[in-house]
């Protein structure tokens, strides 16, 4: 990673809700074009980390750099406008807006909308046929695909994806994995995934890290032979 600034550099980040500290001094770097997966059980601080990066929660300590620029104190909408696409875990789409409106919020520039829709439509063909349908009436899997489609519409340099696989069938998870890898191949987008699904995480990511009680407990490369076992050990009951 010589010369070029990291897509995302989180250093010593500490945050939480009220007086409860949930993230404790975490360091994560995502190089341009790199995909990193954060794994860990519920309630360990993974989603809180993403919310802090996005500016929804104030960082108590530490810094967040995007493409080399410090955004630690920026409000969410200014961070989002730095070519970042954030897909939260819960209430991630506007249920009462149409599919088209949801996508259009992902890509506000009317002149690029059609072009991007064409491209995203190739990945998820059903979306183009159902632009006027209310997003809340899509099935759970379709909503997740809409969510990824909305992120892709923005042609981001960095995607923050929070537990996209939760509650999905294996076939849909497979489609999402392919879509993410294809996008990286085409645009060189970097990604930080928060996941509980080890198989999906190792398939998509280059590197992984396990978060436990707000700290990074273990990390490694996805190529490592025993990666799946090591992670499973951390996550097991």
């Amino acid at each position: 990673m010589s010369g070029e600034a990291a897509a995302l550099a989180i250093s010593g980040l500490t945050s939480g809700y009220g007086e409860a500290i949930v993230v404790r001094g975490i360091n994560v770097t995502v190089a341009p074009g790199e995909i990193v997966a954060l794994l860990g059980k519920n309630g360990m601080g993974k989603s809180t980390l993403l919310k802090t990066v996005m500016g929804f929660l104030p960082a108590r300590e530490g810094k967040v750099l995007l493409h080399g620029g410090d955004v630690t104190k920026f409000p969410p909408h200014r961070i989002a406008r730095q070519a970042i696409a954030y897909t939260p875990q819960e209430q991630a789409i506007f249920q009462d807006l149409s599919v088209g409106d949801n996508l259009s919020i992902g890509q506000p520039e009317a002149k690029w909308f059609d072009e991007e829709l064409e491209r995203v439509g190739e990945v998820f063909p059903f979306l183009k046929e159902r632009l006027s349908q209310r997003a809340g009436t899509l099935s759970g899997g379709e909503q997740k695909m809409l969510l990824i489609a909305r992120a892709l519409m923005a042609r981001p340099k960095l995607m923050l994806v929070d537990e996209i696989t939760e509650g999905l069938q294996p076939s849909i998870i497979e489609r999402l994995a392919k879509a993410l890898l294809a996008e990286r191949g085409r645009t060189g987008v970097a990604m930080l995934l928060v996941e509980q699904n080890v198989r999906f995480a190792l398939e998509v990511a280059d590197r992984w890290a396990v978060v436990k009680l707000g700290e990074i407990d273990d990390e490694g490369s996805s190529d490592t032979k025993n990666a799946a076992e090591r992670i499973a050990n951390h996550l097991s009951v």
Binding site: H77, Q91, F94, I105
Partner: protein
């Protein structure tokens, strides 16, 4: 009977025009603007100033909207923005703002009752009845307003952003929508609508520094009963306005003045979420 129906429709049109500004502020900002009545008053005096300056009386409507919009922007920035996290305090602060506006108007224009030139006077034959031309024009204007608001919220970028903020403000911010700016423009717009409504009703009533007060509470009740939706507000205006006209005509004018408040309080007790939602 026909006159009664015309009365109901024109009353509903007036109520809709008066309440619409309050509704969009409540919808986007989750804030009850108790200065709404004061912005109506501002509109009334903008119309009065138009008359005094000898301008065409129709100009009163855009002029009032412009004054309301600019004042709305200033008020949002100075008073409303610090109070987002304290909704009950925001009610009080906007009420205090109403007092300030009322006193400034009193100091500038005096306390006495004034009259505004009507853009059009007299009555025309309508469906076989002779009816006030201006009131009929008001119905057309209110319909136009409903269409324009619908277009704004459903066919513009600002409208999409505003709806996104209404539905889920955090998600909207995470997708790059500057909700602070959406709120600012919304408050300006709500104030402009109130002010415009004030200019619209002044040919029917006289102008004084407390002009807006009685309208404030009725608008407030209408919006709570209707919820945040333009068609619902039209229906609520017809139901509650209709009840008011019927009670005023057949029972007593004083009880008619109570109808909207009492009916709305009862409706909200039975259906706290309003008539049309959930």
């Amino acid at each position: 009977m026909g006159v009664l129906l015309l009365d109901i429709v024109t009353t509903a049109a007036i109520l809709f025009a008066v309440a619409s500004g309050l509704m969009i502020i409540l919808g986007v900002m989750k804030l009850i603007n108790f200065a709404h009545g004061a912005f109506l008053t501002i509109g009334g005096y903008a119309a009065f100033a138009t008359t005094q300056l000898g301008w065409n009386p129709w100009l009163a409507i855009p002029f009032a909207a412009l004054v309301g919009f600019i004042l709305g922007l200033i008020v949002e920035r100075v008073i409303v923005r610090p109070l987002y996290a304290r909704p009950l305090d925001a009610i009080l602060a906007t009420w205090g703002l109403g007092i300030i506006i009322g006193q400034v108007i009193t100091i500038v224009f005096g306390r006495q009752v004034q009259f505004v030139q009507s853009p059009i006077s007299g009555a025309i034959e309508f469906l076989g009845y002779s009816y006030s031309t201006y009131r009929l024009i008001l119905v057309a204007l209110a319909a136009l307003l409903a269409v324009a608001l619908t277009a704004l919220f459903y066919f513009t970028r600002f409208g999409l952003n505003a709806r996104a903020v209404i539905m889920n403000e955090d998600l909207a911010r995470g997708l790059g929508i500057d909700s602070t700016r959406v709120r600012l423009i919304t408050f300006g717009l709500g104030a402009a609508l109130a002010s415009m409504a004030g200019a619209l009703i002044t040919p029917l009533i006289s102008v004084d520094p407390n002009l807006g007060l009685p309208w404030l509470i009725n608008s407030f009740m209408l919006v709570l009963v209707s919820g945040i939706s333009i068609p619902s507000l039209i229906v609520a205006s017809l139901i509650l306005g209709g009840a008011q006209v019927v009670v005023s005509t057949y029972v007593s004018a004083i009880l008619g003045g109570l109808t909207i408040v009492v009916l709305a309080a009862v409706i909200l007790r039975i259906r706290p979420q309003g008539l049309f939602s959930g």
